[in-house]
Symmetry: C2
Subunit: 152 residues, 2 copies
């Protein structure tokens, strides 16, 4: 069986997972520290999803790191299927959260109301960008593992 | 080769495509007829994506109808790959548009401002629901065709 770069148990996958954890944590921190995010549904949703994505990616990063160290990649089709489906569901939810946040920030910026002091709005924007980046990395993980699945 | 229900050239696929076209048209009509959708970025984005999804689904509905009538389904891997990728890209964009619209409508409803007369807001909500339904059907088409792809 040939090794697919980016599938579970390779160093590329380890980097992808670390990137996901990093971007998701950054998104969560920019959104939740010191600003009143809970007054907007979309921002609460983003915080919830990031709270799901961070432990998932971090756990799989640990598994990848262990697999790389002991040079024994995971090749059970059942486990791989769970990882692919979990990644796919989480990346869909992350995309939804990122789009919602981005559109709400855009509306707040354009409405010229008293909603959004400039300091807060730029933090919301950075949070949305980080969420998009973690969506992209999560999708990449899912596709690489899906590519490996039929060869098992 | 066994027939996968829902893949290109079957009657199930024809129904899926008709459903996509119908829901996308309903979403477009509810959003664009008589309301000032162009003052919100998210609503303009929804209208753009629905304008892409409708001709795509309608063309593939015609292809499916023709294939069912002449009993000769399409089985070229190249064409199938284009359809899978196109469906997947369009379903991602539709999900993004639906989430953006839903979150903006939610914000407009909760902010108690002068933005959103109740008559318009309920039309925006119906439009978002229709967009979610067309996302779901488009994703189903993409998955059925992806399932068929490795067997070619």
């Amino acid at each position: 069986m040939d090794e697919v770069p980016g599938s579970v148990g390779t160093s590329a996958s380890f980097s992808l997972r670390l990137g996901q954890t990093m971007f998701a944590s950054a998104s969560l921190l920019f959104m939740s520290l010191g600003v009143e995010f809970y007054s907007y549904t979309a921002f609460c949703y983003l915080v919830t999803i990031m709270g799901l994505l961070i432990p998932w990616s971090f756990t799989l990063a640990l598994v990848d790191g262990y697999s790389v160290l002991v040079k024994c990649p995971i090749r059970q089709p059942g486990i791989l299927l769970i990882i692919v489906v979990g990644d796919w569901v989480l990346s869909t939810l992350t995309l939804a959260a990122a789009c919602s946040t981005a559109s709400v920030v855009n509306l707040l910026l354009n409405s010229h109301g008293p909603f959004c002091p400039p300091k807060f709005c730029s933090r919301y924007q950075i949070s949305a960008v980080m969420a998009f980046l973690s969506w992209f990395l999560s999708l990449a993980s899912s596709l690489f593992n899906l590519w490996l699945l039929p060869s098992l």
